[in-house]
Symmetry: C2
Subunit: 468 residues, 2 copies
């Protein structure tokens, strides 16, 4: 994807380019930095980092083990430290902050927006966060404390207080003059907030209307009819949904009394969306949502060990079920060979239904009204696939072991297990959701425990009844 | 979350409100619509839909089985049809379009932006898309054909051609006058594109600068120094990454010659991000990325059946491995009871490493330079957890069956399987990625096949060697 064939004319423009350092592929940058780190070219690294966007530097840090992180951090330009810390995931950020002097951390904290600093303060060990709060000057501290009043994951935590507001009874000409005096608008200002004398939020007016409409008209005439605000206590997931549904760039945040508190912009919302999708992915494997690729081995092993321990209990439960059929297993060795087939197919089919239901819940597409339809449909899909694959499995089992009895029994057990899988795949996430538990985290473990147990129970149970 | 305690003052403002119909919860809306559908209250439904945002209506349609979808679609206001079709996922959209008359589809098509129509045209059956192209007027057809020139999933497909551009040598006052004549700017216009006489893209100037800066200055003076453009051929995944890294609202799209073709705005990018995260979730269960919650049973069963068939092959491979140890299983029934424990723990541990590696690849955090570090770390995590849980499993096995031999063998087999799982969890996604296969789709199946086989092979193999 080269852009070198451009006109000379374009090349002459020193101030613009259609590619830039930031957009050399992240993996190439990583290769280069690792090579420089290993060769000890600290000057080269410094130069590279100066031309690299802080989010890309954060990404680099997360791609390196601890010892190299420290080396890289040394080379980071001081004025970028605050931004980079903001972009890092929690665990990787902890590992960087642990190596920072109090003075260095204070400088970074003072360069951050209060909403970003609030997120970091929450994760610091108590003594460090106390020391940092102590060291902040009054202005920074009071702004931070305002943000800390709101719950984590609430709109109040996402918002910036850097917002331009105007009265509804002034003319556009006055607004334009006022803006011109203001010089620099906050980033992503697509509209101005309209307030009354007591700072109540009334609506917003688009910047493009301020420019294109008759300057003698009043602000009130162009206030967008369907503008609305979110409450500072609203959950960030709901806020993201509103941005998506309404294709917003920014939204006003108000308190219960309707007073304008601040503004949430779409770049914060993108972060929320990314975090949610990462969380769903990592939770599905029982990983923490901030899992650091290069976390220390022992810390990482301990966190994952909990998940392995939970799984061990469930698999011993399944083994216990098998143990109840020792007599059958002792007499017919084919049962031991074939039993994983029944359990595994149930787990796969069930996880398809489970995943579909989890997505439906995430999109708010499942309510009491359509659960019955969904259950019926999944049951029928399970029955259709059960019919087909039970026959295939029965046929293969017959060819392998030459026993019609085993063939009929494995086919029947598979059918039963696929039907149970379909019902569990709908019921488990709905129940977890109702109980306030994230179905992405524990849904799959519970489901496969059920399909394992029903698979072993039906196959070995039927064999005990009919073949012994 | 009530906002009713607001000042009367605010309530009087008819043109603004802090909540609106759109924001009654989607599930409540669903309950209400289903109740109305079942009661046959078509007028009520019509009124409800008129006040509901098209994206919420699309969501409702996806929450209903086929017969109710048609009823709901009848009640959709004609002028909303185009928007709703745009918001629907592919499969649900197909089911709606199948019920539309040619004339109705044409009207919706003409009301759509060409980039949205292009997406729909791609999925239509050949004869319908031909008929639709035929029926479009010249203007719509030529704009559509321009978009269809670009690959699906490319920047060219995401961009809108509705872009405001200015020359660099004019003054801000001229730009302001020109904008005022223009009246309405395209949505999400945060900046104007700067071009030369031959339409080459030079950079952009922020709308807020146009307002706040000295009107006698030239555009060139405020052209943003680090603006850049994306090539129309760039993949949409890369485009999304650039928006995130640079916190952009919009970006210019150029061709190889540097000519300005259009503009991509952040709302399109949010859709790309959402689609990617949905794809990852659905692929992990072997589901199609457009899987419709209420797809017809047979269609749904057939698509999922393929995945079950693939899994059946892998589980029969594992069963075949077990079958090689019939003699051991025949003599020591405890082996049959315990063997799922070894296989399952390997699968769980491996999927943790696999998920972490897949995330690392998605974030461009893995390159040749750090693969060795990642492998070493995951191997050590596997060893640490292997040591702990092997001892636990060996201890439980000893208590259960009273055989020191079986205890030692199951512990050893578990250790081997967890180490193999760690190595496979890194290697499989890297190899799939290098071969251009989505590791989210097939990684888990391949991994569990390996951990099943190594689990059974090591446990039953060691038992055959040492216990028979």
């Amino acid at each position: 994807m080269s852009t070198e064939q451009q006109d000379d004319e374009l090349q002459d423009e020193a101030s613009t380019s259609v590619t830039s350092k930031d957009d050399t592929s992240q993996t190439d940058l990583l290769e280069q930095i690792v090579a420089d780190l290993e060769a000890g070219n600290h000057e080269t690294i410094k130069n590279t980092l100066e031309e690299t966007h802080p989010s890309a530097v954060a990404n680099l840090i997360e791609s390196l083990p601890k010892e190299h992180r420290n080396d890289l951090w040394e080379a980071v330009p001081e004025e970028q430290e605050a931004d980079i810390l903001t972009y890092l995931h929690d665990d990787a950020r902890d590992s960087v902050i642990r190596g920072m002097e109090a003075q260095e951390l204070l400088a970074a904290a003072e360069a951050m927006a209060p909403e970003d600093l609030a997120e970091i303060i929450d994760d610091l060990p108590q003594e460090r966060s106390d020391a940092l709060l102590e060291a902040l000057d009054n202005d920074h501290r009071s702004r931070l404390e305002f943000v800390l009043n709101f719950d984590e994951d609430s709109a109040g935590r996402l918002m910036s207080r850097d917002v331009v507001s105007v009265r509804q009874d002034v003319s556009l000409a006055v607004v334009l003059r006022w803006l011109r005096r203001h010089k620099k608008l906050p980033p992503h200002t697509d509209s101005l907030m309209v307030i009354d004398e007591a700072d109540h939020y009334l609506g917003k007016i688009e910047l493009s209307d301020v420019i294109t409409c008759d300057p003698d008209e009043k602000v009130a005439a162009f206030m967008h009819p369907d503008t609305f605000a979110v409450l500072a206590t609203m959950n960030e997931h709901e806020v993201a949904g509103i941005f998506e549904r309404r294709d917003l760039i920014s939204v006003a945040v108000v308190n219960e009394e309707g007073l304008l508190l601040g503004r949430i912009t779409i770049d914060d919302v993108i972060d929320v969306i990314r975090e949610e999708s990462e969380r769903a992915l990592l939770h599905s494997a029982g990983l923490s949502e901030d899992e650091d690729m290069f976390a220390p081995v022992i810390a990482s092993a301990m966190r994952r060990g909990i998940w392995l321990g939970i799984n061990l209990i469930t698999v011993f439960a399944a083994a216990w079920v098998i143990g109840q059929f020792e007599e059958a297993l002792d007499k017919i060795v084919a049962l031991a060979v074939l039993m994983p087939v029944v359990a595994s197919m149930g787990g796969i089919a069930g996880s398809q239904t489970l995943t579909l239901t989890i997505r439906g819940l995430a999109l708010d597409q499942i309510a009491a009204a359509n659960v019955r339809w969904l259950t019926t449909k999944e049951f029928l899909v399970g029955a259709a696939n059960g019919a087909v694959w039970s026959l295939v499995v029965a046929f293969v089992a017959y060819l392998w072991f030459g026993s019609l009895g085993i063939a009929i029994i494995i086919g029947t057990a598979m059918m039963l297990n696929l039907l149970a899988a379909a019902l569990s795949g709908v019921a488990i996430p709905l129940l977890l959701h109702r109980w306030g538990i994230d179905p992405a985290l524990s849904g799959a473990v519970i489901l496969t425990t059920i399909t394992d147990i029903i698979g072993f129970l039906s196959f070995l149970g039927l064999a005990t009844i009919f073949l012994l």
